[in-house]
Symmetry: C2
Subunit: 338 residues, 2 copies
Amino acid sequence: MATIREVARLAKVSVATVSRVTNGVAVTPANKAAVLAAIEQLDFRPNAFARSLATDRSSAIGVVVNEVTGLFSGGIVQGIESVVEKHGMHLAVSSGHRVAEKEKQAFEALSQSRADALILLVSATSDSDLIELANRDRPVVIIGRYIEELSDNCVYVDNVHGGYVATKHLIAQGHRRIAHLTGNLSIKDGRDRLEGYKTALRDAGIEFDEALIVESEFVEEGGYRGMQHLLRRGRDFTAAFAANDQSAAGALLALKENGLKVPDEVSVVGYDDLLLAKYVSPALTTVGQPYAEMGKAAAKLALSAIGISSATRIVTKFEPKLVVRESVAPYQKVAVTA
Amino acid sequence: MATIREVARLAKVSVATVSRVTNGVAVTPANKAAVLAAIEQLDFRPNAFARSLATDRSSAIGVVVNEVTGLFSGGIVQGIESVVEKHGMHLAVSSGHRVAEKEKQAFEALSQSRADALILLVSATSDSDLIELANRDRPVVIIGRYIEELSDNCVYVDNVHGGYVATKHLIAQGHRRIAHLTGNLSIKDGRDRLEGYKTALRDAGIEFDEALIVESEFVEEGGYRGMQHLLRRGRDFTAAFAANDQSAAGALLALKENGLKVPDEVSVVGYDDLLLAKYVSPALTTVGQPYAEMGKAAAKLALSAIGISSATRIVTKFEPKLVVRESVAPYQKVAVTA
DNA sequence: TTGTAAGCGTTATCAG
DNA sequence: CTGATAACGCTTACAA
């Protein structure tokens, strides 16, 4: 690959002038033309490393997510990429796999000067480690959790409100005995959604019944087992709110196996609005999150932190939104059979 | 950030020695200990650019896919990452968005010495441009298409065989009037699957009927419209093979709207085995492709091309596999009503 | 085994 | 506006 020196020689100018041309700095038209011609002829492309070494800029944004291909991290990554590529920058991605050590490894690799800023969507690393990381030299933006000390660099959605919205929708349809298949309660999202559920009940004057709660997990199997568990005790509820779509899908399956019709006999609402929500039968009423928007916001935050992109106000707190499909029906007195 | 020089000074050795320990080259134990201590104390991490500039190695693999978050490119990217990270390398990803110019832009950026090798899963770039790219300095591996001239660096699956398998399954269940909702025929995958369909019919001695073919597209809407079109003409088929799961899902919807039961009245098989195949109702019998495996193979190919990883035989041609679920039933004479 | 010093290909400073 | 030249931080002969 040709170097800047060869171009300079061919164009009969100094390397400095070539550098000026490739960086869009003013140069005599004649020189510019000569340089451009030489570049063309030699098929010269500046060496990114040398440039980065000299400028201390990689023109890359580092992204570490739980899984590159995660059902929703996918949408977020897409959002990030759309704004990053618009600014001529690149993406260096790594998966953290929800394992603290792997996440750390990914940060280190990326911040070892490969990335000008980091965007993180990770589960295993503690808040304090994240804070420590953010206090190094490169800007860090966090997606999916709110950390007080880093509040300006967090892009997140209000899970409490999400749980509230889901539950309230059920209440508005007349349901009062509403079960909740929680997510993994060691994860904050799970706790928040549960809290939203409780708040909605309280606001509606419905007494909270511990018996209607079953701690499940954020996977299909968890929803399935949770619902089985609930049903084995006798069906004393007319609706259920699952902490995510996958567990909702599992619940749907359990309901079907028990000969219960959704939504006629039991209404179900999920959370996340994954692609599957639309395909499951009946199509799932769920709470959607603006993944792409969140990714875009994170990218804008990162870009403005390194002085690129205009720094107009960037929204960092997003509201979940109810997506109505077919898995919820109004409460029907007759349906309740203990 | 501390530099190698500072470490050398603190450890009272030369920079060369420091370099040696960071690169695992033999050094006196005493020196090694001193260096390690200094590194620890200064929190030194080698500057990746300087290292790359000196070695002409980025320790990154460039990946350009149609969409980072694509329903199946996701699985492929995951496969790639799993082997790449195992070798301490990184991923630089870009989306080509199925637009020739964007794809080209992505190649250029990545090959501008940011990546030691390129893995491409792109649709818009022509074979000849790909060949040209592959003849530059960095190794290139192509996923999802077979290019004669680059045969050793292509990881692909036999779409003809996939179409064959899908159709044959239907035939084995006794169906003879089998419709085919093709994919976009300007895309090779679509043409190949159609060819497989035809071959299966021929092998079974079933006459090919142009009227049972409708060119659709690789999206839900396409499958929906295609099926509508077919039904409007009167239902003279008992089974249908859709060129991908999304169009199969659309077909399912059209069938349902027309009051036809799947699989009792019409059997359906899809292609791809996306997550939705499992959730659609009835669950879709489909043809799956080993996405993760393909990604792994591509990564191994790339790694071995740059001299990393052992070069054991790497499988590059994959066979699609039938995944049986619930959308296919044996042919029932009584069901056919023209 | 170790140290010295010459690159690696750019950018940026500073005269001119 | 242009050109020399000193960084940038690391690796790698080469010599000791």
